[in-house]
Amino acid sequence: MLLHLLIKDLKRTRRNPWPILIFLAIPLCITGLIGLAFGPKASGGGLGKIKVALVDEDGSILGGFLRSASSQGEATDHLETRMVTRAEGRELLRNNQVSAMLVIPNGFTDALLDNAQPPPLELVKNPAQSFHPAIVEELLGTAAELLSAAARLVRDELPEWRRLIQNEDRFDYLLLARLITETGNRIQAVEDYVSPPLVSYRQETKPGEKADTPGFNLFAWILPGMASMFLLFIGDGAMRDLYKEVRFRTLDRYRTLRTSLAPLLLAKMLHALLVMLAGATIMFGGGALIFGIGWKEPFWLALLAAAFSLCGAGVLAVVASLARTEKRADVLNSMLIFGMAFLGGSMFQPNALPAVIRHYVSPLLPNYWFVEGIRQLQERGFHGSIPLMIGGLTMAGLLLAGVASTRFNRLLQEGVRE
């Protein structure tokens, strides 16, 4: 009989899938919007290629140097510069085609070579983007510091460097050789202060691990949180179907044919569990297809989703059983889902929450374990605490299901009405 009840509910869901489809689409849309607003996905360990418009009003060697530097070697993986006029640069910014426009003002190189204070470099950031313009600004700051240090280092030779650069008739190789030697001597003199650097890092690739791992993916960070919240909404719809059975009097009809309510309640919980699992499959599968998220450890991810669905169905069933009316269940469950999402790390990272919530509230919520579990799987792969999370969620789900079943039985015997 349990099977007939479950098949009936699944058929009804199939005939009217819109409520579930909406709850499936919303997290994918929100993830997409947030992801696009704060930066696209990154493969290769960075944040994608940063496009910069370069306006060389100075018309000097420095502009050419910057352009050639950004189009060589590793820089091409991260930077894409386009030499444009100021008007063209503005147009590119307006059309969101570049992250920033860098203007080298007229007279910049001359002032630098004359040991004078050069006019400031001008950086116009694209207000429609957040990460990339900030990165360009940081890079420019570093470049300015280096340029300033270099200028101070070779201050005495600058007039001769200028003569070498500006001599258009005949290139003086002897002068170049001398200047390089003198500059080299100066660099050698300060070598002890700058080399080796005091702080450095080394990148290692463990044997058997892919050298080119997928980098940080913002979508993969956002989607589990969104999914946990909207999976609960999907489960809520399925559990509240019990009240629809009351409203449409099909529950009364059931009770004229069967004395025990347990199969009906169990079928509703199984139905909620199945639609949540189907929802999780679509959300995470959609995340992989649409946003290119590479889910690590899909088996453990699936188990985590199943345990979370069971626990979520249990929580919602308990609330529905306490509510006594459909309207009250609707309000209570919505508030609870938003509350759990807020406090359990679906909306914000738990670290961003006040300490008292982070330590005493979040760890009690299923969202926390689900989202944390997925993020840990993504960051560290499978490890010992993942089965504990799954076990905890499963146990809590079964316990809550028992409580809800007992409570519902009593409620329906007392005569619940919509």
């Binding site: 058929k11 005939r15 099909t250 009809r253 059931y254 009770r255």
Partner: protein, 310 residues
């Protein structure tokens, strides 16, 4: 043996006495009509009979066995058609029949053949696979009845099954119910439609404010109101004082009196012409006198002092 016997059923909701001492019985092949206005206690009586509510007092006997001593057996014997259309509207009529049939205990093969039979009997075979939400009100009502018939119940409880549907659909349903009764099904039928009770039911119980006021065949109930006939007098009776007229109270009783209409019944069985002569000799001048056979509404009027249609 009576298929259904209700003995002194009573149910109270807070201060409201919804059903107070209702007793009746339904024989196999009989249609028993429980007639009463909204709020009279009909649905509560059906709910207690079908096990949805436990009575505060009294007993429900199904084929001689107490319902609550063996509810599973009682449920197998009875089919219940609730007042509201209790169907899954997303599913087709056929799916609904199959689901309720399986829930009633039919196996996979039996349920399919029975669903085909029920659809045929209800003239719904051609729309069997359409979702219920696409059905007309009459079709929904028919499937609503069909779901209760899947397990061939010998006792059928119908709670106002024709509310809100057009006359033709209603007639189809009533014909179908007559057909079921002819095949031996005992039927308890609640309604507030006088015509349904008059034309469909072999016996009628009149219920109001939770109490069964009278029961019997239509003829027995009519006889109870007047000894054969009622007289409807029309005219200006505003100043009439019948209590002061000598002999009137001994010969006639007033069922209803409004500004221009006065409904009276003779207290004893007398020839209508004799009654008419006495009425025309009264110190009022009726413009019109109509001789009529008592209706169920007149019975209700006599029992409660108000019309069933009010």
């Amino acid at each position: 043996m009576a298929m259904l016997k209700l003995l002194d059923l009573a149910k109270t909701f807070g201060p409201v006495r919804a059903v107070d001492g209702v007793s009746l019985q339904v024989e196999p092949g009989e249609i028993y009509g429980l007639l009463g206005p909204n709020g009279a206690g009909k649905t509560t009586t059906i709910s207690m009979t079908s096990g949805l509510l436990r009575p505060d007092r009294g007993q429900v006997l199904v084929e001689g066995h107490d319902f609550w001593s063996d509810p599973v057996r009682a449920q197998r014997l009875m089919g219940v058609v609730p007042q509201e259309v209790a169907l899954y509207e997303e599913l087709s009529g056929l799916d609904n029949l199959l689901f309720w049939g399986r829930l009633a205990g039919l196996d996979r093969h039996a349920v399919k053949s029975r669903a085909a039979e029920v659809l045929e009997a209800l003239s719904l075979s051609d729309r069997a696979k359409d979702p219920v939400k696409a059905y007309s009100g009459g079709m929904k009502r028919r499937i609503n009845i069909g779901c209760a018939l899947m397990h061939r119940p010998r006792l059928l409880l119908l709670d106002e099954p024709t509310v809100g549907i057009d006359p033709q659909a209603r007639q189809n349903i009533l014909d179908f119910i007559r057909h079921l009764a002819r095949n031996g099904t005992a039927i308890l039928y609640t309604t507030h439609y006088l015509e349904e009770a008059e034309t469909l039911c072999q016996r009628i119980g009149i219920i109001d404010t939770g109490r069964l006021l009278a029961e019997g065949t239509l003829a027995e109930l009519q006889q109870r109101v007047s000894k054969g006939a009622l007289f409807l007098l029309e005219g200006d009776f505003a100043d009439a004082k019948p209590d002061a007229w000598p002999g009137f109270g001994e010969s006639f009783s007033t069922l209803q009196r409004t500004g221009r209409q006065w409904l009276v019944s003779p207290r004893e069985e007398r020839h209508p012409a004799e009654c008419l002569r006495d009425l025309l000799n009264l110190p009022v001048h009726p413009e019109n006198v109509t001789l009529k056979k008592p209706s169920l509404n007149d019975v209700f009027l006599q029992l409660t002092g108000r019309e069933l249609r009010e």
